[in-house]
Every structure is written in C-alpha cells, then in structure tokens.
Amino acid sequence: MFRKATVTLIGIIALALSLTACTNDPYPGADARRKIYYTSFNEAPKSLDPAVAYDTAAHAVTGNVYDSLLEYHYLKRPYTLIPGLAKALPKREAAKDGSVSYTFELRPGLLYHDDVAFALAGKGADGKPLRTREVVAADVAFELMRIADAKVGSPVVRKFAVIKDLLEFRKRLRALRAASADFTQMPVHRQYERAGGIAGIEVEGKYILRLKLSRPDPQLKYWFAMPFTTPVPWEAVQYYDGEEGRPHFRDHPVGTGPYRLAFYEKRLRMVLIKNASWYGVRHPDWKAPGATYPTEGSAVDKRRGRLDPAYTGKPLPFIERIEFRLEKESIPAFNKFLQGYFDRSGIISESFDKIVQNDALSPEMIARGIRLEKSVQASVFYIGFNMLDPTVGAKAGLRGRKLRQAMSLAIDVREYLRLFQNGRGVVAHSPIPPGLYGYDRKYRNPYSGFDLARARKLLAEAGYPKGIDKKTGEPLQITFDTGSTSAQAMLRYQYFINSWRRIGIDVEVNATTYNQFLQKLKLGAYQIYFTGWIADFPDPENFLFLLESSSGRKQSGGSNYSNYENARYDQLYHAMRAMENGPKRLAVIRQMIAIIERDRPWIELFHDESYVLSHPWVKNVKSFGLSYPVLKYLDLEPAMRARLRKKWNAPIRWPLWIGLALLVVFVAPAIFTFFRERQ
C-alpha cells in the first residue's frame, strides 16, 4: 500500500511538472531512438492458445510468437507457400486405397524461447534446470492431439477430421476421462499417450512427421501455415495451468517464433521482444527462407522499395521490440497515428475524405511522406437468413425464397459503402472474394443489386403485398440479430432497417453483445443476422464451406449459421473440396454459386477493401491480406521518426495566454475598486 501511495505522490509531482513542460508524446523519451514498432489493439485477445485462437486480435500476437511449419512468401502473389520450421514443403504420397499421406521434416536444432516451464523437462548438462529445449516432431503431433481434445475446445477440429483416427481419438479420450478421475489427474501428454495417440499421425525419429488422410485434401497444407499447427511444448501446457499464481497457457505463449511475449498487461499493453533463441537469430548462416528477407518480387515491389538491396537476403527480424498499446476507440488511435505515435494504421471513415482524395493520398499526406497500401481483403460481409425459421426459412418454401429475394433486392450496397465506408469495398455477388480462385469480376447476381420495383413485386408474389400477409391480414414482422451495441453499429443496422421499410417490411433490430449474439446463434432462435468472414487461406473452399450442411450451426455447432441444407450443394461441395484448381473445379464452383444465387440463404453485401497508411520511417511495407500479420520483415528508421514527431507536435500555446489575459481583465476592476475603497 505504501508503494502505491508513493507512486501516486510521484504521479502528482509529475503532473505538476508536466503542466509546465507539456508534450503529447505517450512514450518515455528514452525509447524514441530505439527500433520499437508501435501499434494498437482494442481488446485483449480472449485466448493466445494456438489451438484455440481464431480471431484477428489473437493472430496479431500468435502469428509472431508461434512459427508454423510452412509460411507464405512475403512478396509473391498469388500466395506461395515456403518452408518455415519444416525443411521443405511436405511430400505427398497417394496409396492405392485412395488415402493420402503427407510427410513433413522439421529442421534440426530449433529451440523454444527461454522459459521456466522447461524445468519440467529435466536438468541441463550444467546441473541447472533447463530453460529451453529442442523442437521435435512429437511437439507438432502433441498440438494436433490438443486440437482433437474436446477439453481444449478448438474451433477447427472438423478441418483436421480428415486425419485418420483423429475423431476416434477424441472419443477415446473423452471416455477415459469420464471413466476415471485418476486419469484426469495425469499430465495431459500422458493422457494422450494412454488414449493411444492418433493412428493417422506418425512420428519418425526426432524430426519426421507423417500424416495419413482418409481422403485427398488439397487445402490441408494451408492449415500448416497457420498458428494452429505450430509445435507446442507439453511442459508449457502442464506448467501454465492458472494455479498458484502461474498464468494460464492461453495467456502465456511459449513458442518458436521470431518474437516472444515479454509483457502482457491486458488492459494496457502487449510487448513482444526479439526471441534470442529463434533459428533465424542463432543461425543466420542457414539462410532459411522463413528467416531471410526475400530476394524475389514483382516489378511493383521493386518500385515500392520492397527489394532494397540493404535488406534482400539479410537475416530477419529487423525490429527489436513490438508494442501493442490498448486503444479502445478508433479515433484517438488514428489521431495518434497522425501525430506519429503509431507506425501504421488503417483509415477511419471519419477522416477518410481528408486523407484520400480522388482515390489517391491527399497532398497534405504526401507532403508528410505517408504511404498508402490498398488491397481487397479476402473477406465477405453478409446478412444471413436462418433457414430453420418458419417465415424466412426453407420451411416457407417458395414463399420464403421470394421473400428472401425481395429483401436482397431492397438493399443498396453501393450506397451503404458510400455512407459508412467512404466507398471502400467491392459489392459482393457471391461469397467468393476477389483474388481467390473462382471469383468472377463480371458475374452479376440477378437477385441482388438494388431494384425496388422488382423487390415489391417479389414481395407481393410471396404473399406479402406492401408487407401485409394476404392470408392473415397481419403485417409481416421480422427480427434482425446483431452482435454489437455500439452507437456506430446501430446506425449501420438502421440503414438496413430503412431499406426494408421502403418495400414495407417491418424489421426490428435486436442488438446484443457479441457473446450473447453467438449464444442466440447456437440456440437457433433468430431470423436474420449480420456477420462477416475473413479468409484463413487463399482457397474458395474456405468460403463455400460456410453453407455446407454438415457444418450447420444447429446440427454441429459449425460456421454455417444459416443452417442451410441443400443436397445438391453438398454433393458439389464434396467434389470441389477434393479437386485441384482447374476448369473442372471452376465449373463446379459456378454451379454452387448458381444454387445459392436463387436460394438466397445469404444477402452477400461486400468484400472489404483495406487501406493501410504507413509513415515514411517504416520500411518494407506490404499488406498481407490474410487474417494474421507478419512483422518480422518490417524495419524502422528511429532517427527520422523522432525528428518528424517533434516537427508535427509543437503545442499551440497562445489560447492559454489569451485566456489568462481575459481573466485578468475580468477580475482587475473588482480588485482595483476594493483597494481604492480601503484607502
């Protein structure tokens, strides 16, 4: 308590001091000349467990702390896989029975970052407890078993169900746990051993990992370029159990990445510092593709300065420290970016017109040396219908379909983008976003796009002329569930409400917090909802599976929130999934889109377009486009940053003097009178 009082006292003194020397620099002065990259986060991620984390906020950390076996080439587009922790891309072998196996070989000599948890692994040669150990193939197998483990609660089990015996392992484990309490007392990796492991995962020696699949799955390789499949040491999972003052594993990542999480103050900051035991740092001589700045890129990359000879072929990472600062609101965060206190930022819609003019940076921004990266994000935002609903769903048959079509035609997406996103975004006609295989720029969905006359006609055909049910004479009423209660979000929802109102449909918004929204989705007690999906990997399967029936929300808790069920669509999906890209696959994708085009389980709205600004002192900037960013390729020029910050942030003091002068003028007569009277 005494210490706190001292701190407070110092705070007050500091306050008094700072009133005389006012500055808006939010960082200690000593850090100005260090290579520290500043960025913001708006909410502490719920979990940093690589088997669980599945949102952009968490990936911002896990993507840098956990290395994956494969990675994407930083500059090449379309996305190209390169080996990360693996020595090379996996070898694929097809067996006669139609099953397939993939073999990964890990680099030898990889180490985890320094952590006390490794004391569980024993003592080192010097007799002291171990602080790190070598990464082995069994660690990847362990992580895959964690994904299968129902207790871990990984959201992507289904994706790995293609590995032989994985789902059976899940069941065995559950049964063993239910059968005996002693079993649950054992360390987790022992439990997995006791459950017999997963037959489809073979570990050979220290470095070879072989996966046996029940059917070909071309997309599986992409999952090995995500933090889900990173090697995880069992020591960390066992040690960080949330007891006796130790944090949970989900709040204390122990990994193999270029950075490690050094400070994690959920309500203040997350600090990543360079991992001294990363293979790129310890063995620059390896010239490993995942630890060296690329030497190849396109002409655009060259022009944009991403192939600067000062960097090409140099060992990564360049930045010593990454600070994520909590910024709950976007506007202060953006203002701090403009003041030079964050290094990169998106553009908030409030300031867009000032920053971007005629689709290029404004002269003011150019004069500051700020650069703009535009890219269409592989994402889709949509309004979905719950197909289990008796009014808007499949049960209403043709009526329901016509109603959905009418509602889809009533929304002017272009106008929505203009009002709320400054026109940023591409109007969506199918779930597949631009840049992914199967996207057709010329394709127009005849049941979307803005057409009020047709919408009214379809509504009448559905039996609701002007929004009144012909049979009952009752007005049509629909509820719209959304997952945000912020004032800004409410305005967006209101836009949709107004759109439907124009054709006479009365829709009521039911806005709740995100968690409650998810709960409602689970119970299936909703009619229409608004959400979005960002690509995990560059393949249309990652979007089309959102309407496949076996991942129906109600049925299996999957991501098909619309509970859409169409036998033909499912059949096509299964065929498409196993195909390599080519004309045959494209034909199948077209057929799938044609089905949902008429059925309208979704109103596809738009594909988000991202505009990222960078200050001139940030080097090697390239938009990544997938759901997690990679910071190891970036570099900074701290001296330039310090100079420009100073230039941009000179405080304006004259109002203070004017205010004081006014005060004196106001008070002086009274004081004057008082002294005169006294004499």
Partner: protein
Amino acid sequence: MSWVSNIIVALLVAGGAYVWIWARSNRLWREAMRALVRRRRFALIILGVYVLIGLLDAVSWVGGDGVQGVAASEARSVIDRIFKPSIFREKSYSEPFAQVEFVGGAALTFPGQHVLGTDILGDDVLYKTLKGVKVALLIGGLTCLVLIPLALLFGVSAGYFGGKIDDAVFFVMSTLASIPNLLLLIALIMALGKGTLQVCFALGITGWVGLSRLTRAETLKLRELEYVQAARALGVSHPTIVMRHILPNLAHLVIITFALLFTGLVLSETILAYLGIGLDGSWGRMIDQARNELSRDPVIWWNIVAASSALFILVLCVNLIADALRDILDPRTLRERP
C-alpha cells in the same frame, strides 16, 4: 400499444388541469405560482414548449394518411405526422438549410428545408431532436413516478410511526445509500436488463433515498406540531392524519426535489448512453453517436450541437426553475446539496 401512451397523455393532461385548479384555489400556492412566473417567466415558457412537444409525440394512432414507406402496423405520433420522416429525408449528411448533399454535392430532395440538417442516414436532425424530448421527459417523469411514492411511503411512515419502523427504514436507506450511485444503477440495469422501464425503475431505486431522508426528517417535525397532536388525541385515524396534515405539508419538498432530481436524471442518462445501457432515441444516444463526427474533416457539428443544446436548454430551464422554487417555497430547510 399506442393506446397506452394515449391514455397516459389524457391522464397527465387531466391531472395537470386538476392540480392547476386546486393550486389556484389555495392562497399560498397561488402566491408561490405568481412569484415563480414573475421570476422565471422565460424558463417556464420554454419548459412549457418542451412539455407540449413531448405530449404531441406521445399521442399516436395507426394508419391514416397513406404515407409511403411506412410499415403498415406502425402507430405514428403527431410529430411523426408533421415531419413524415419516411419521405422527408435525404440520402446522407446535409448541412442546415443546405441545397446539396454534404459529401459529394448531389442535389437534395428537399433543398433548404432541413432546418438542422440531416444525419448520416439522411434523417432530419430537427425531427430526431424533437423525438428526444419525449424520451427525456420520460426519464425524468417515469422515474419520479417510481421514486416519489416510494420515498414518501418510507419517509413518512418512518417519521410518523417512529420506533421499529423507523429503525427498519433507516437501515434500508443506509444500505442503499452506501452503494455508490452509479454502481448501483449499473448493477440494477445489468440484472434487470436494458429497456425504458428497467432503466427508469433502476434510476428510481437509486434516487429515492435522498427524498426519503428529507421527508422523514420533515415528518418528524410535523408530527410534533400541536394540531397534529390534537388530531391524534381526538382519535383521528392515522391514514387521515397523514393525508390531511402530513402530505400537504411535504408537497413543497417533493416539488423542489423533483425539479432537482429531474436534471440529475436526464444528465445521468447520457452517461448510461455512453456505457451502452441508455434508452433508444435519447439525446444521450444522439450525442454518443455524433461524438465521432467531430473528428470528421470537414467537421459535422449539427448533430451533436442539436442534441446537446436541446439537452442543455431543458436542464438549464429546470435548474433555474428549481432554484427559484427553492427560494420561494423553502428558503431554509433545503440548502444546496452536493
């Protein structure tokens, strides 16, 4: 549901008329009213306008004028019918009295007719601001409807009967008073859920303690007065004494506290709106929605200025009236409270 609010309006108007007639028949009250009108004529007129707008917005019925773009089942108030929000709108922002859209400069449907401009969805800001009047009055009024009877019940019974009842009431009051106000409010709304009734109920629960203390202390004094003692000695029943002698003498306290509470309630709704547990259509919500527009470049000021001035003027008028009321009705017992 429109008939409920219509009935309430009728009751309010009838009740107001009754109070007016009763107050005029009583010399003391008539003089107090005159004094108030003399000192705060302007504030009273403005407050009257607010109340009128609120009442006009509360009277509503279904169907009627065949306006396009309205869901058929919707009951619309007089204000809605004057403004016809489904037609009288633009696509997006426009400045007050503007001829063209604010962003892009496309022609407006109703050039020069939006007195306070339009918001991001093209809704008329004057209309939205006027709609906020009802919500503000509702927050103040409905809450006091919960609060005043509760406070009187506890305060008077504690003061009048004393003894065990007093101890019990005193205990309940200290308990509620020892939970910081805003926290109790948040806790109540979290447990009860969001919504107009819940929020007003929560505000009422958190606010009654202050008034209850005052009425209790005052009742203690009144109880000892000679004519009350005499009435007791004559065997007049307790309810009669309370109705005849105690309550009328508490009326001025209730009125002043009501005026003081009202501003506090309306102002605290803005905090609730910021926390995301406020009421739909309130000025607090409008301010919360518009605060980001200040960061736009060029700045969009009319939304936040409209909502905050409407709020400011109402609160200022009520504050001024409360101030005068305190001077007129009771210069001594009620000093300013923090």
